[in-house]
């Protein structure tokens, strides 16, 4: 304990012995830390945006389908349990954010053009919390009930079909007997989405209306459940498996879209690589600073060894000095990055490049995401690697011969 106290005292005072050099190195650590954490927050925000938008296209963190639905998402592969029975089970289990849908491929035709789309037969009351469509931003109106006879399509699709609110379109799909099932709908609303592809590919109609059109009675294609945190859906998954009770195949969002799921893992790896690369750049300065500091103090290191300080204590002193420098730099850098994120936490408008970003499934507003785990990772990596980097000069200092060091000119 006494030795530790003297090590800290010596390390702290030696740190400020050459103010200018220490401040320059400190500035480098602060900037490096800021770059690590702030840039990670921006990148994390981008990836989260892509993942969330991706999940919103599914949508739902946990989904149940007929086992063959993913290979053939047609009306032939419906969940074995009836919609009414599903509603009874999930409502009784206390689920809040969940819904059932009829989801089939269809062709939409206006008087000018036709397009292949995904038809979603939904109950707007359950769908509100799950869908990527903001009901209040719909031009016209959104569906009002499961038996609403209107249809809501994307603004981009409306443009392509040269149609608008109030006009009629025809939807065509297949019924379970492989016969054409079609129906005329009046366009009641046009929705906008962050991702333009959503506006082109999805159309919404009332669930009961679609069930009638397809002649599938009270059956649905999918059941979706939303968890509080998309990173942790295990509880909802397990409960859904229990409630479906073999009536369908239950999957988590990252199983439904492995590409999307892998993005989080890739991002975690990228953050680590990014932090290490910045640290490597920093480490050259750090090692140089410590080597200079050791060279300047060869005689007093020799004196301390001569007076009976053990080589390990000399090593410890240099390591503590390096750790103090890094700890101060990390603290300031972390505070600075937090302060940098605060003014832009409500989003940065990047619409100037939105055309390109749209291709990657990103929206035009970037929300930086400062995760505690990233802050901890950056701090731990810098301290750990800083410790390793300081070992070389510290080892050299600890292995001076006292009498050679003390007489060094």
């Amino acid at each position: 304990m006494h030795r530790l106290a003297i090590l800290f005292r010596l390390a702290w005072r030696n740190l400020w012995r050459n103010h200018r050099r220490t401040l320059i190195m400190l500035m480098a650590v602060v900037l490096g830390t800021w770059a690590m954490i702030f840039m990670t927050a921006l990148m994390r925000g981008m990836v989260t945006d892509v993942v969330k938008d991706g999940i919103s296209a599914l949508p739902g963190h946990v989904q149940a389908h007929h086992p063959d639905y993913r290979d053939d998402p047609s009306v032939a592969n419906l969940i074995a349990v009836s919609d009414a029975e599903l509603a009874a089970r999930f409502s009784a289990a206390g689920f809040v954010k969940w819904a059932t849908r009829v989801r089939v491929p269809a062709v939409i035709t206006s008087e000018y053009d036709s397009r292949g789309v995904t038809l979603l037969g939904v109950d707007p009351m359950y769908e509100r919390d799950l869908t990527f469509v903001d009901y209040d931003e719909v031009t016209g109106r959104f569906l009002q009930s499961a038996d609403d006879s209107g249809i809501v399509i994307g603004a981009k699709l409306a443009e392509t079909l040269n149609t608008e609110v109030g006009k009629r379109i025809v939807l065509m799909s297949q019924n379970p007997d492989n016969d054409i099932a079609d129906r005329g709908f009046r366009v009641i609303g046009l929705f906008k989405a962050n991702i333009r592809a959503f506006e082109e590919n999805y159309v919404f109609a009332g669930k009961i209306t679609v069930q009638k059109m397809l002649g599938i009675g009270d059956q649905v294609s999918e059941l979706v459940v939303l968890a509080d945190d998309y990173r942790n859906v295990e509880a909802e998954y397990n409960k859904t498996v229990e409630l479906i009770d073999g009536g369908g195949e239950v999957k988590r969002w990252f199983e439904l879209d492995p590409y999307l799921g892998s993005m989080l893992g890739v991002m975690d790896g990228f953050v680590l690589v990014w932090i290490i690369v910045i640290f490597l750049a920093l480490s050259f300065g750090l090692v140089n600073t410590l080597v200079m500091a050791v060279f300047e103090r060869v005689r007093e290191i020799g004196l301390m060894l001569a007076l009976g300080m053990r080589p390990m204590n000399i090593l410890g002193q240099i390591v503590v000095e390096s750790s103090l420098l890094l700890a101060i730099g990390l603290a300031i850098g972390t505070a600075l990055s937090w302060a940098s994120v605060q003014p832009i936490k409500d989003g940065i408008d990047i619409s100037i490049v939105s055309e390109g970003l749209d291709m990657w499934g990103m929206s035009s507003v970037l929300y930086p995401e400062l995760l505690l785990s990233d802050v901890i990772l950056a701090n731990v990596v810098v301290l750990l690697l800083g410790f390793l980097a300081s070992l070389s000069p510290a080892w050299r200092a600890a292995h001076y011969e006292p009498i050679e060091a003390i007489t060094k000119v």
Binding site: R9, G308, I403
Partner: protein, 230 residues
Amino acid sequence: MTAVRCVDLCKTYRQGEVDIKALDHVSIEIKEGGFVCLSAPSGGGKTTLLNAIGGLDKPDSGEVYIAGQRIDNLSKGELAELRLRQIGFVFQAFNLIPVLTARENVEFVMQVQGVPAGERQRLAHAILDEVGLAGLEDRRPADMSGGQQQRVAVARAIVSRPALVLADEPTANLDSKTADELMELFRELNDHHSTTFVIATHDKRVMGYAKRLVRMLDGRIVADIKQDAA
């Protein structure tokens, strides 16, 4: 009892193409409470002998004993422990740690020894007072004269009452008045606490304080004289 015993010490340095015998079969025994001056011209071997006794340098051959314990075959760590517990050092120059105050420099060895803070501070205060540095406790070496620095070094060397104090040219950077004061202090400690002093010097005034004068030349002891100290 014997404080220091050296048996047939040899040490050769290579300087360019030339081998220099710093110690040439040196044997010496110093009793506890001795006050010995090693005198020699530059390169005569006195500092090498002092360093060998202090475990700072290993002889090429021969044996060194401190208080009966053989030390020339100890590891670095064991030697550090020996120096910490049993030997006080005063070097010719660069004696103090620049970032520590006078009091902290004096406390340094005690702190490494693990002496509690309260006792450390009391002893440091008392010893600085004893060497005439009362009131200068919080000054750093850069703010002190050469004589004051040397006295701090002496205070550090003796504060934990080591059995043996090794001093290498302790008066080299001091004026004659300060040098005399320092030697008086050494003698007082020697007389009152039976601390053994081994001082390497070529200062005749310092030799005058010694009870025993060992003259060296070319790495050999050429004279070993008991004398009435000043």
